[in-house]
C-alpha cells in the first residue's frame, strides 16, 4: 500500500501572484530557502512591496536585505531570526513571530501584531522593533548603539527574565498592556543584569529585586519623556494603540550606574 509521505516543507518555489504593486508569495509548505530566494529575486528585479502569505515558521524572512524602501508583509507565523542582519527594509508581521526577531539588525523597522518569542533584538545595533503583545526571555540582550545608530525595541505586553541583559546601548520599552498574563509582573527577574549602556523604560513600576545590581531605578523625568514620546507616537501609529492610554501610567527609567561596571574586576590596578 502506498502511503502519503508527510513532509514539513517542500523544496519548491512559492506560488507567485501580483496584488497591485505588490508581489504575493504563497509560503504554504514551502521551505525557507526557496521562499527567501524568491523574495531576493523579486527585490533584485525592482519589486519594493512583498507579501508573504500562509507563512508558518519559515526562517530568516527579510534577513540580510539592504534595501531601504522595501516593504515585506508577513501573514502567518514568522519563523526564527526574522529580519536578522537586516539593514533598511520594513517588515510587518500579521501574526506571531518566533524566536530571534531582529537578531543583529542594523536598520529598518519590524512591526509584529501578535506576540514574539525569546532573544528578540539580540545584538541589535540600529532600527526599530515594535511588538503588540508579549515577548519571551532575554529580549534586547546585548543591544548596542554607536553615534546615530540607536536601536529601539518597544514591547506592548509583558516580558520574561533577562530583559535588557548585558545591554550596551539603545532603548528598550516595556508597556505591559496587551498581555496573556494579567497576573504576572510586567517584567521577570534579572532585568538589566550586566547592563552598561542604553536605557530601559517600563510603564509602571518594577521592584529592586527584579533588577540587576548594575542599574539604578528612577521615575522617568521630563528629559526621559522627551526621548520617549516620539518613540511611543511611532509605536502607537504603527500598531493602532491609543497613545493617551499608554501615557496614562507613569514610566520607570532603568539605566546603568556605571558604563564600566566590571572595569576593575579582572584588572590589577
Amino acid at each position: 500500500m502506498a502511503i502519503q509521505v508527510i513532509e514539513g516543507y517542500r523544496e519548491v518555489a512559492p506560488a507567485k501572484r501580483a496584488e497591485g504593486e505588490a508581489v504575493v508569495f504563497d509560503a504554504n509548505g514551502v521551505y525557507y530557502r526557496q521562499l527567501n530566494d524568491a523574495i531576493r529575486d523579486a527585490v533584485a528585479s525592482g519589486v519594493r512591496h512583498v507579501i508573504v502569505e500562509n507563512a508558518n515558521g519559515q526562517r530568516y524572512i527579510g534577513a540580510g536585505l539592504r534595501v531601504p524602501d522595501l516593504r515585506i508583509e508577513v501573514r502567518g507565523t514568522a519563523g526564527n531570526d526574522l529580519a536578522a542582519f537586516m539593514d533598511g527594509p520594513a517588515v510587518e508581521v500579521f501574526g506571531n513571530a518566533q524566536d530571534g526577531v531582529g537578531n543583529t539588525m542594523a536598520s529598518g523597522k519590524v512591526v509584529v501584531h501578535g506576540d514574539a518569542g525569546d532573544v528578540l533584538g539580540y545584538g541589535m545595533r540600529g532600527g526599530r522593533v515594535f511588538v503588540r503583545g508579549d515577548v519571551g526571555y532575554r529580549v534586547g540582550i546585548h543591544m548596542k548603539a554607536y553615534e546615530n545608530l540607536v536601536p529601539i525595541v518597544v514591547c506592548g505586553g509583558k516580558a520574561r527574565d533577562f530583559f535588557g541583559e548585558y545591554m550596551a546601548g539603545g532603548m528598550l520599552v516595556l508597556l505591559g498592556m496587551n498581555t496573556q498574563f494579567p497576573n504576572d509582573p510586567v517584567a521577570g527577574s534579572f532585568l538589566g543584569t550586566g547592563m552598561h549602556g542604553g536605557v530601559i523604560y517600563v510603564r509602571g513600576e518594577v521592584e529592586p529585586w527584579q533588577c540587576g545590581k548594575e542599574v539604578g531605578i528612577a521615575p522617568a523625568d521630563d528629559e526621559d519623556y522627551k526621548a520617549l514620546r516620539p518613540v511611543l507616537e511611532d509605536y502607537c501609529g504603527s500598531l493602532g494603540v491609543d497613545l493617551d492610554e499608554v501615557l496614562a501610567v507613569p514610566f520607570t527609567r532603568i539605566a546603568p550606574m556605571s558604563h564600566r561596571p566590571y572595569g576593575k574586576m579582572y584588572a590589577y590596578l
Binding site: I3, V5, I6, E7, G8, Y9, N56, G57, Q58, R59, G76, T77, G79, N80, N96, Q98, D99, D115, G117, D118, D134, G136, Y137, R138, R160, D161, F162, Q180, F181, D184, S189, W209
Partner: protein, 402 residues
Amino acid sequence: MSATRPRYAEEAPFKIHGGCGLAGICDESGKVMSGEQIILAMAVQRDRGNGLGGGFAGYGIYPEFPDHFAFHLMYHDEHAREQTEALLAEHCVVDLAEPMPTRPVKGVCDAPLLWRYFLKPLPGEIERLELSEEDMVVRLVMTINATVDGAFVASSGKNMGVFKGVGFPEEIGHFYRLEEYEGHTWTGHNRFPTNTPGWWGGAHPFALLDWTIVHNGEISAYGINSRYLEQFGYKCTLGTDTEVAAYLFDLMLRRHGLPLELACTALAAPLWSDIDRMPPEKRELMRSLRAVYGPAMLNGPFAIILGFNGGMVALNDRIKLRPLVAARAGSIVIVASEEAAIRAVAPNPDAVWMPKAGEPTVARVQGMPWPIHGDLHLTPQQVSCAVLGTEDVCDEAVEVTA
C-alpha cells in the same frame, strides 16, 4: 578510512542548524488520533535536528492488550534476542512476540532487529520476588540493558510504545508505520546529538514503564543524577544524559509519590534568591525539597516533555535556555519547540503562549486514572512524610539489583 569511520561522526557538508526539536499532542477528551499528526508536527521542525535521531511515543495504541506490558526491544544480533527472550521467559508470560512492523524508508538504514512483546509477570512471580508489578518490570529492564550485550529496551509500559531510531523523525515515523496506530497522547523528538553518539538506542524518547521523556538540551548534572539513581537500583546504560530524567520521574512520581508540581520543582529548582522571597511556609518547603532532592536537580538547559498513560507534562529549565511553546485547540493541548509545529497540526488554536520557565504545562486525559499524586498544595509536613516514607505515603526504597 570511510569504511571504518563511525556513522555518528559523519558531518554534513552543509550548514547544520541544530538545537533538537520536540512536540507533544494530547487530546484531553481521550479521543484517539493517528500518528500522522505528531509526524507532521515534527516534520516542520526538521531543521532542528540533523538526521541522527528521531522518535515518538504513543499512548493508548494497544487497546487489544491494555493490561499487558508492551516491551519494544532493539537487538544487535540474534544472540542478544535469544538471551533476552530467555530472561523474559524466566519472569513473564509472553502472550505475543513479533517483529515490529516496519517498512523500508529512504534515509533509514542499519536498523537493529526490532521486536515487541506483550507480557505479564508469571503467576506468583511478584509474590516470590516481593516486588510490585512495576518494580519487577523496572528490574527486568535494567537487567536487560545492563547485562545483555546488544539488547536495549525501548519501552516497557502498558498500552503505549516508543518508536525511535537513527534518521529524521518523519522518516522514522514512516519506517514504524505510525499512521497505523491510534493514540490519545503522542510525543515526538528530532535529535541533534552533541555530546553522545547518534545511535538507535540513544534516540529519544527514553522510557521506563509508561514514562517517556523527549528532551532538548543537555543535562550537566548527569554524573550526580546517575549516581543518585544508582542508589535506587536504576542503571544508566544508554549513553545519553536524557535517560536520567525518565528514571528520576519514575523515582519521584511512582515510588516516592511526590505531587507532580513538586517533582517538576525538584528538577527545575527555583533559585535560592527566589526562595528567599517566598512566604515562610513555601520557603520552608522549597528549602526541604532542594535539600532532599538536590541530586535530582537537572542542571543545564532543557525543555522536556514527560508522557505517561493519562497525559503529558512539558517543562523548561528554570531560566528558559531552550524554546517551548504551548497551545490549546478545543480539547487538544499541543506543546512544541516552535509555534510552526503547533500550527501545522492546529492552524487556528484557541490560545498560544510561551510557558514560564520551571512551571509545568500539564495535559490530562479525562477519565483516565491520574498516576500522579494529585494534591498540588501539600504542607511541608505532608511532603516530609512523603519524602521520608513515614505514614505509608510512599513505598520503601526497594533494593533492585540485577
